[in-house]
């Protein structure tokens, strides 16, 4: 019983999609409402199993997922079981294990682990609510809910902010450092670059793929090379190596962007100039709120749009002049649909 | 050394051995293979801890726990198997046994000095792997002498040397003893060496001292008798202990009619070609004036001698390290004859053995059996062509110590004992039992691991396997090395029988006496090629020795 057993090459049939504007609303059409949320299995306690493919202490993407849910769970006296660094090949089994721990919800932190959803129809996972931080071709089925954000929106805006910074410091080059050379990482770069070019049309983006999110030694060298080549804004789109790259950038006075979280007021000793928040934790928090209220529906995808929803957003930590206003305008244009980001990224403007 | 005992499991290598050596003498230590000579010396060097006994140096008891202590006490040894590291240079090898800082300049000077003093010139900066065997031994000796030892032990130093090199060595030893008052212990089981080179001799047998003699007051026969423990037929003694003179001047001390092989049960051995030849050399020569066809005296062989069965033509081969092993070796072998290939170790005999074991491919030249060319080096090709081999080192390539005796008996011929790819246990055992009986192999059962058999019985297993495959050619490389007298006799007998039954036998040996005892024709190998050939009857040891040393006199 797998949800994706029909021809996998066929594009997903569009699931019921909620075009919500308010993250806190609990009233929505479509989907099914599991009985008894949040304690769906009725054992008197609420247990949430969180699955993450990456290190949940990466100070970035994966950590935000856990941090938000931890906060929420602590507030409500729920129990959180975190399983991180899961090999995608072991995702289903891990999900089954969680079901056997009698969790009320299985929350999947990233779409790499989407195969885990196939356990949702299995008897031992009966009644469990499922949540996945979506994207990357997760096909909607009635068994789970997903949150969707759109790389192009947040990364285009991130690029735009970076462009503003570039314009200010007179630079013509931006740097982007990430780990493995993945389709996803390339898409990020493309949107980021388009955003920069919207402000500084003749700017260049230097893309580095070190091969490993955590190999800070190599990421540092990539940063050194970029900085020496006159890169004036740098985007460490990394896991464990993020901070060490930013530290190097700090030393050269080159502004850096965050991969997913708001670290404008960060006290950890590294300074970010732009927070790009597309944090899966924020989307998850929305879902948890609904879950607590008993209104989280399965079978629907909740979309998160820049400019429409509180997250994602892009924030300049130390805005100068009219930078903030410009960024705000862009955000609004994207939110209102005035600017079609997908076309902008594809160069169809 | 007083009351030294050492057991290896059930084997008593040394039992209550006393040995005393005085300064200024060359002391021979004589004994058969496995008599315990090396073990005794290893005790002296601290390489083997004795079960009991004491070592006294200048009357004082000493505990020698390792070679470094031994060196500090003035004892040094040239090992039977070299202890050099090939990829290190000469000076590094010489520094290896020392302690303390490595002083290259000092060692190099010392090497030169020692070399000059004793006439042992070696280049201290040469890599040992590039040196010849003789040079390597020089390095070993320099390595010992540079520490100015009081006692120098040499374990069978001449087995790898040419006659001339041996003589040079003994000259050096004389100088060491005479000029510097050192003591030298010379281990050997070659009687003539002992007679020529030593002042005193201690004879060991089966781990015990059986005699002490002043060399000048004894002779080879007496020594041989003591060493072997019984009165031997001359020929057996000669094979076993290497008295060449006896083989060259036959009939003086031994009644010509005496049986050659004491254990020979079959009367046919009396007609054996080599015996015939040696005991009546004139007759042999007379019967075969051409000299080209050997052993015409043996009637059983004559018909078989007509056709050449095995032929090697202009064979060239190199080692994996690109060192030439064979350089244009040409050889012919007829059915029913025994051809002995004499030569000093390191001159290509092992290569010939390897060639017939399919272990060595040729760079040029051919090997033919019955006119058919065989792909040298291809696994099992030689075996398939009907060439049986008793390899030089049976542990390395003759048998598999961790397989059972039965399995060792069928290694190459699985066909007869298997059906559709599956082995049949019952057939395997049946076959093994038959061979064990036929070849009188002493083993508790066919399932006994080969490892547990004695050396002689291991060799019998190899022989049984090779002969049971009904080969047309049998190559025997050092077939009696490391065997006791009984086994040697058995082996000799079997080889003769094999030749008589029409098998062409090629004997490879570094022991001239073995060659002289067994062969009907003798070829000399030097630096990978045959430098001369002669009929057994025409043998002149001087000439043979010179040929082995490379002179084509």
């Amino acid at each position: 019983g797998d949800p994706q057993t029909d021809d996998p090459k066929k594009p997903a049939t569009k699931a019921t999609t909620e075009k919500g504007t308010d993250a806190t609303t609990g009233t929505q059409a479509g989907g099914t409402l599991p009985k008894g949320e949040p304690d769906v299995n009725g054992d008197g306690k609420v247990v949430i199993g969180v699955m993450s493919p990456g290190d949940t202490k990466d100070k970035g993407y994966y950590q935000s997922f856990v941090d938000e849910s931890q906060k929420y769970a602590d507030e409500n006296g729920w129990k959180l079981t975190i399983v991180d660094k899961i090999n995608p090949a072991a995702a289903v089994q891990q999900a089954r294990n969680l079901c056997r721990q009698r969790v009320d919800m299985v929350a999947i932190g990233a779409s790499e682990l989407k195969d885990a959803l196939s356990a949702s129809t299995e008897p031992q996972c009966k009644g469990v609510t499922w949540y996945i931080s979506g994207g990357m071709g997760v096909k909607q089925t009635p068994e789970f809910t997903q949150s969707l954000d759109f790389i192009n929106e947040s990364l285009y805006a991130a690029g735009y902010a970076a462009g503003l910074v570039l314009k200010d410091n007179g630079g013509k080059k931006a740097g982007y450092i990430t780990g493995p050379d993945l389709d996803f990482a390339r898409a990020v770069a493309k949107a980021f670059k388009a955003g920069i070019k919207a402000v500084v049309p003749d700017a260049e983006l230097v893309e580095n793929y070190t091969g490993d999110f955590n190999d800070s030694g190599k990421a540092n060298e990539a940063a050194n090379a970029q900085l020496s080549q006159g890169v004036k804004v740098i985007y460490p789109y990394l896991g464990g190596a993020t901070d060490s790259v930013t530290r190097i950038a700090n030393k050269k006075g080159v502004p850096a962007l965050t991969p997913g979280t708001d670290r404008c007021g960060d006290a950890s000793g590294v300074k970010y100039a732009i927070s790009v928040v597309f944090s899966p934790g924020a989307y998850f928090a929305g879902a948890l709120k609904d879950f607590k209220a008993g209104t989280l529906r399965m079978g629907v995808a909740r979309e998160w749009h820049l400019g429409k929803d509180p997250v994602p957003y892009v924030k300049l930590c130390d805005p100068k002049g009219d930078q903030e206003a410009q960024l705000k305008k862009l955000t609004e244009d994207i939110g209102s649909g005035k600017l079609n980001v997908d076309d902008a990224v594809a160069g169809k403007q | 050394m007083v009351g030294i005992s050492k057991h290896f499991g059930p084997v008593c290598a040394c039992g209550d051995v006393d040995l005393s050596v005085a300064a200024g003498e060359i002391h021979g230590l004589l004994g058969e293979n496995g008599a315990g000579k090396s073990t005794l010396m290893k005790v002296l060097l601290g390489l083997v801890t004795p079960d009991s006994g004491q070592i006294l140096l200048r009357g004082k008891p000493e505990t020698i726990s390792d070679p470094l202590t031994a060196a500090a006490r003035g004892i040094a040894m040239v090992h039977q198997h070299f202890s050099l590291v090939g990829r290190l240079t000469v000076w590094e090898n010489i520094a290896l046994g020392d302690r303390g800082r490595v002083d290259r300049e000092h060692i190099r000077t010392v090497v030169r000095e020692v070399g000059e003093r004793y006439g042992l010139a070696v280049d201290p900066d040469a890599r040992v792997e590039d040196l010849s065997t003789g040079e390597r031994q020089r390095v070993e000796i320099v390595k010992c002498l540079r520490r100015d030892p009081d006692v120098l032990v040499l374990d069978e130093p001449t087995s790898v040397l040419t006659l001339e090199e041996s003589r040079d060595l003994f000259t050096v030893l004389r100088r060491v003893v005479a000029d510097e008052g050192k003591a030298v212990i010379l281990i050997s089981h070659k009687l003539d060496e002992i007679i020529h080179a030593t002042d005193k001799v201690t004879i060991m047998r089966q781990g015990r001292v059986v005699g002490r003699r002043i060399t000048a007051e004894t002779d080879e026969r007496a020594l041989a008798r003591e060493m072997v423990g019984r009165e031997l037929s001359k020929w057996t003694a000669a094979t076993a202990v290497g008295v060449m003179d006896a083989l060259i001047e036959p009939g003086q001390t031994e009644p010509a009619s005496g049986p050659q092989l004491e254990v020979a049960e079959e009367p046919t051995t009396a007609d054996e070609p080599s015996a015939q030849e040696v005991s009546t050399p004139e007759g042999s020569v007379a019967a075969d004036p051409s000299g080209a066809t050997p052993s015409a005296a043996a009637p059983t062989v004559t018909e078989a001698t007509t056709g050449v069965l095995l032929r090697i033509k202009d064979a060239h081969a190199i080692s994996p390290e690109k060192i030439p092993l064979l350089r244009g070796l040409t050889l012919e072998l007829r059915a029913g004859e025994i051809l002995g290939i004499a030569g000093v170790e390191g001159n290509g005999q092992s290569a010939v053995g390897d060639l017939f074991s399919s272990l060595l491919p040729l760079t040029s030249g051919t090997v033919e059996v019955d006119g058919k060319t065989i792909a040298a080096g291809r696994p099992g090709a030689m075996h398939a062509a009907g060439i049986g081999v008793i390899p030089e080192d049976r542990h390395a390539s003759g048998c598999v110590l961790d397989m059972s005796v039965a399995e060792n008996l069928v290694l190459a011929d699985l066909g007869g004992i298997s059906k559709r790819g599956l082995l049949s246990r019952s057939r395997l055992n049946e076959r093994a039992r038959a061979l064990i009986e036929e070849f009188e192999i002493a083993t508790p059962s066919p399932d006994t691991p080969m490892r547990l058999l004695s050396g002689g019985n291991q060799q019998k297993v190899v022989l049984a396997r090779e002969l049971s495959a009904r080969p047309r050619v049998l190559v025997a490389a050092q077939p009696t090395r490391g065997l006791d007298i009984g086994a040697i006799e058995y082996m000799t007998l079997r080889l003769h029988e094999a030749a008589k039954s029409g098998i062409a036998v090629l004997l490879l040996s570094t022991e001239l006496s073995e060659i002289l005892t067994l062969s009907q024709r003798i070829a000399v190998i030097h630096r990978g090629t045959i430098v001369g050939e002669m009929d057994r009857a025409d043998v002149d040891v001087e000439r043979l020795g010179m040929m082995m040393g490379g002179q084509t006199a």
């Binding site: 057993t5 399983v83 993945l182 389709d183 | 190459a412 699985l414 599956l422 490892r451």
Partner: protein, 380 residues
């Protein structure tokens, strides 16, 4: 080449006949010593693991219970352990074949992932009835593994490049080869939903080519992989001990020169053994592909290659003995996954496994050392 553990014949003192040590009549204390050592070293391993769990503030007892729950505690756990054991056993069988031939293949991890990648291509692109395609997936996975191992074989027999080093380095190359393939849309990469990006993985195989599963789902249920693996283990055991091929492999492994004389070519028989071990690793990859993940991605091998090698080691190169050992390792892996789902960092499992392997090899090695020492002194 070296054998697993150390070559048993090399362990005995050399020199001609005579058993090295008196085996009979060993005092009872000595015979009890090895089991005692096992108990001691295993409990030490568990104690260290427990300590580590306590360090992170979790209860070692709960962890132990979770390990039990996840591996043996219920029908489905047992099934899970058995499923995990199947590819381990396949890898181990291959390792045994190579080791018996005197070859140490250490690159199963790479051969496995290459096998799986080949299998995935077949499964995704070959038309035909499910059972047939499944067979072809397994077959081609084995061939893929063998081909990958053949690189090391060629390097060894042609240029003398050490097998251990070559197979080791080829693991890293294999990982990149597969990474390349699953990142290229024209090769194995997943078909993208328009407007969305994809992970570095292949599409999922269609259900008709999955390995059949037996049993009732939430309870005890297992995939067909273990049956294939166990059958192969028994078959290889008989082939090694009873067939001419096995005899030749053994001969080659024990004495290559004698083998050569007897017509056993190192290239054919030894190279064949290396290829066979690659094939078994590849087959393990195919079984993992069709048995659980149904698609291939970066990190697919998940240490199964290395763990399988260790199974062979602990089973002392005996394919039948490898069955229980593989089940034990499978239980560890299954229990470990379950343990992780209780929130204890999953790395503890890797630590426990490693400690257990050391605990298992220690007593035999130690006994061997003792035996040798005793042999030296009693000889004396």
């Amino acid at each position: 080449m070296t054998k697993l553990l150390e070559a048993p014949h090399a362990a005995r003192p050399a020199g001609p006949p005579g058993p090295a040590a008196p085996r009979t009549g060993a005092p009872i204390t000595q015979r009890l010593r090895t089991p005692g050592l096992y108990a001691l070293s295993l409990s030490l391993a568990f104690a260290i693991a427990g300590l580590l769990v306590a360090v992170v503030g979790k209860s070692p007892w709960d962890a132990a219970v979770a390990m039990y729950e996840g591996s043996l505690g219920s029908g489905s756990s047992i099934g899970q352990s058995i499923d995990q054991a199947a590819p381990l056993l396949m890898v181990a069988i291959g390792s045994v074949i190579a080791a018996r031939a005197g070859i140490f293949n250490i690159g199963q991890e790479g051969q496995l992932i290459i096998g799986a990648a080949v299998g995935a291509s077949v499964g995704l692109f070959m038309p035909g009835p499910g059972w047939f395609v499944l067979l072809m997936i397994l077959l081609c996975a084995a061939i893929g593994g063998a081909l990958w191992a053949s690189i090391a074989a060629i390097l060894y027999y042609w240029r003398g490049v050490d097998v251990v080093i070559a197979t080791l380095l080829l693991i890293f190359v294999a990982n990149q080869v597969v990474s390349f393939a699953v990142n290229r849309p024209y090769l194995l990469r997943e078909q993208a939903v328009p407007g969305q990006t994809t992970a570095s993985q292949s599409d999922m195989l269609r259900e008709s080519v999955w390995l059949p599963r037996f049993g009732e789902y939430p309870g005890f249920n297992i995939g067909a992989g273990i049956f294939i693996a166990a059958l192969l283990a028994v078959g290889v055991y008989f082939a090694l001990t009873r067939s001419r091929w096995g005899f030749r492999i053994r001969l080659l492994g024990l004495n290559a020169k004698t083998a050569h004389r007897a017509g056993v070519g190192a290239v054919v028989v030894g190279g064949g053994a290396l290829l066979a071990s690659g094939a078994f690793a590849g087959l393990a990859g195919g079984a993992m592909l069709t048995g659980s993940g149904y698609r291939i991605q970066d990190g697919f091998a998940d240490n199964v290659g290395f763990d399988g090698l260790l199974v062979a080691l602990v089973a002392k190169d005996n394919p039948v003995r490898a069955i229980p050992v593989a089940l034990f390792f499978g239980a560890l892996r299954a229990g470990g996954g379950f343990l992780a789902s209780t929130g204890i960092p999953r790395y503890i499992v890797a630590v426990v496994t490693a400690l257990l392997v050391l605990a298992v090899v220690f007593p035999t090695a130690f006994a061997e050392i003792q035996r040798r020492r005793v042999a030296r002194t009693t000889d004396a």
